[in-house]
Symmetry: D3
Subunit: 131 residues, 6 copies
């Protein structure tokens, strides 16, 4: 009765066009990894979107006023709120690499769950802004 | 052609029942504020939900493995992702009180916007989990 | 700094085309009300969508295996979950007309808030179906 | 091209900590079931969230102004609206146990689908509240 | 650790009731296809919802002021925005049949991703309407 | 009982920093308008996000495989699906400028409403992909 539920068409490096390869190479260099994640292979169907998405992500996630761990935890929190299972798995891994402990993750998750509930209540009642 | 768009029924302290007042008192004590926010006055229509929501929030936002500023920033990020304008205003204020600078807020916002876009793309293609 | 936030263009009976008036008349007759709600006046910009929406709604909300109060409460619960302030106000009123008490509303709200939180957690972890 | 899409890490009773076991035991006792659902095993990674979620759920779903069947149907309706496939399956089962017939489910589903559509239209036009 | 994640109960033509078969027959005739898609087989559990959904879809997708390709691309764009992987796959196929090229799809996807991001920002700040 | 509901802090040209002014100038030049929309004034609080958002939007909305009217209609459809009232108003205006007639808008709206409903049903049942 059931059937396939995952169907991203993934573009591997070997079959990729030169501009896709250029992005893949930059991702691998920047992150010091041997291969890019499936997300990028799926985006590679659309080279312009791939290029823009990576360019923005690279800029947004670079060290700045916030440290890398906080940045990854914010990404993880939003991904949890949006119910994106792939991004949750991927950014949980990245946040742990940056030092997020199990206790930190537990607190993050509790905040996300609670925020979603209070967001819902505040929106549903269109609570007026505090003076 | 237009009309009222905000219509939370707010319960003020004076008209509140004893159990609602008890929650209001605890909020004021815990946060050291002279009055509770409109969100709590709106929830006060439902004393049990008010009590449970405050009890969970108090526990979840207490100092732990994560510091107060990071906690408020996570709350703000999720509220932005959920498009809850009231919560965005309210937690932006709280995060600033805890030391979030304009530069930090700008980086947070950029991450939220980017996460929502990549969440969408990963979900829409149901990208398979990385091995 | 602020400005107009509500901007539905409402079509009043007097300015409505014959097919819009026919729908308005049927709504008034079916619900025994002197005028239609703003929702229908907003939809009247698109007569076909107005007709289809009313036709489906009339069929869906008619008494059947579920009584009118339960139906209105289900509508209210979904509207709360979707954060639609207009529909929350409108269906809260309708549910009260059908006998929903304050205590019932409080329990309904608590379920919606809790369901949204557990929905989020189950989706974010893509919890496998129970055997 | 595809790969794993379900990846909740489930905590079984045998490997659970004493406070997780205490919650599991209470769930089994309250619901009179031999084992807890996967949802609880997934939440068990975060014992505090597990405890708070179960405590709220137990209180919220207990008999009150609304009967158990109506409560389960409200939960199911919200889960459908939120597109949470796990919760839909789980609460459909629970609602049927409480007497929801196929005809009731069909009417519930029709209301959810219709509510989501009218919620969208009312929000998109920010329809002004009826006087 | 993982388990089944797809669980629509599909109703095949052979086991369908006469009114379900009538809808299936009309879908096959209208679209000139040998069998209906899984979506319709899943909806067939609820014959009234099946009938209403097909009746509306047939009317909405018929040629009118917009051509068939634009209609399918709008459907695809909304399905991407809603993160419905099944509908994305199904309407991508339909749009390609109507002449959507890879370049058109790439531009559509870029618009959807960008719209979701700016929608989020505009909502989160509740930007006042332009004069 | 009610209060302010719109609260974007808008940055006017006069008070803007040089890099914000540069973006504002480019928007005015590209679109041949005397002033930028409120959306850009709200984003101007975050100059980097403003710059990136405009840069992507300019690229994405430029003529390509899809004509300007189709692009604006896709943007409008997604904004309707996301319930972003500001973006709906803003892109409805832009789409009309590009030739969208009332009849086209009516068909677009009908598709969006229908897509959201079928997206919901397909997701809730996690309908398996067609072979």
């Amino acid at each position: 009765m059931s059937g396939p539920t995952a169907f991203a068409r993934l573009v591997e490096y070997e079959e990729a066009s030169p501009d896709v390869r250029a992005v893949f190479d930059d991702i691998k260099r920047t992150r010091n990894v041997p291969d890019v994640n499936n997300f990028w292979k799926a985006l590679a169907r659309h080279p312009d979107t791939l290029r823009r998405t990576w360019s923005t992500l690279k800029e947004v996630m670079a060290p700045g006023a916030l440290d890398a761990r906080t940045k990854e935890m914010l990404y993880l929190a939003v991904s949890l709120a949006n119910g994106c299972a792939y991004c949750v798995a991927s950014h949980e891994r990245a946040a742990r690499k940056q030092g997020m402990t199990e206790a930190m993750y537990a607190e993050l998750l509790a905040i996300v769950a609670q925020a979603c509930e209070t967001n819902l209540l505040a929106e549903a009642y269109r609570v007026p802004l505090d003076g």
